[in-house]
Symmetry: C2
Subunit: 216 residues, 2 copies
């Protein structure tokens, strides 16, 4: 059965999934790059993003790796895909990840600004969905063909799916930094009332990993 999962989503101590003022030099907003100090050095990400061997292999890597297991499709918010706001000026922006993005499956991008799909190398196709979160999930489910759907982020996207009760499990990493402002993951969302509980709590030197799961 397809499950809808959030994986490796990282928040600061003060609860932000990105800093303010995202732009081409600050994909995660000002200060946001520090969020992923646990993730970038892992063997999983070194291989997936940079094609490199090596990298850390302990708890952080275990969590990074499980994020890719059994994932048949992704859903991203438009701001995770791009720093561009408003109408697309042209079709030159194809994501942050170069010619061969680390997804290797269909990726559904929520946006109000329609665009033709982009077929990248290595099995990733970006589809732009203007019909809202339910349509994106329906298409992602079909594309996943029995595997799981991973919601990549950012916070605005995860929040919408949480509000509609559509996420089965979230792996959240808490990084030892303060961002001060930005997109707050938990703000205004009562996850306890929505039936979630913390089922794993695993520290590493660089982050605290928690898994939140909805009671069946």
């Amino acid at each position: 059965m397809t499950r809808v999962r959030v994986e490796s989503f990282t928040i600061s101590l003060d609860g932000y999934g990105a800093g303010p003022d995202q732009d081409i030099n600050n994909p995660l907003g000002v200060g946001g790059a520090e969020l992923h100090q646990w993730l970038i050095p892992t063997r999983t990400i070194q291989r997936a993003l940079f094609g490199k061997d090596g990298g850390t292999t302990a708890v952080d890597d275990d969590f990074a790796a499980r994020g890719f297991q059994n994932v048949g499709a992704w859903i991203l918010g438009r701001n995770m895909f791009s720093p561009i706001r408003g109408a697309w000026p042209d079709t030159s922006w194809q994501g942050w990840w170069g010619d061969s993005p680390p997804y290797h499956v269909p990726v559904f991008i929520l946006t109000h600004h329609a665009r033709a799909p982009i077929e990248m190398e290595g099995g990733t196709t970006f589809h732009f969905i203007t019909g809202g979160i339910h349509e994106a999930l329906a298409q992602a489910r079909v594309a996943a063909a029995g595997k799981d759907v991973r919601i990549g982020g950012g916070a605005a996207t995860i929040q919408q799916y949480l509000r509609e009760g559509l996420i089965d499990e979230l792996h959240i990493a808490i990084s030892p930094i303060l961002l001060g402002e930005g997109a707050a993951l938990f703000a205004g969302l009562d996850l306890r009332a929505r039936g979630y509980e913390c089922v794993e709590f695993v520290p590493s030197e660089k982050a605290t990993h928690v898994v939140l799961r909805r009671r069946a």
Copy 2:
């Protein structure tokens, strides 16, 4: 030099320092008792609250113990002292902690409802301050006589002192629970802009301990 410290203040994964609907049966609000699963079993708290020997002695106890070191006065919000709201109906409420509270120094309680001081056993005196946070801190500094002032909580009290730039250091414990609603410690407060950074990040099995300090 007197420093103003927050110690052992515990928040949930979603950032709350207490659950909703505090009352006599739920001093920390509904669900809030789970916050302190790291703290209550420590040797420091077993001795301080229950006069018992034994208790845990690892990381959690180290943090619990340092919270009492070199503390010459405390400041509490009225809701940490009592579940009573509005005017005091009588003088019978003397705190949650029995005849000999674990403070053993002067304690200054912020409230809009004046009350005579209460001298308890073991050196604790509760003073009720209606003149605001600056007056409470001034009085606490004098009482501390060169030792530090500990701000006990709750979130509403800590927030006010943070906004005025009056806190030097905070030890925050993050517990593996969701509270869903309540008093959010970081909400609306940009600690990064206020010059705080995370200088310690120490996991235990039951909590993640972080120390935030203001750059000098």
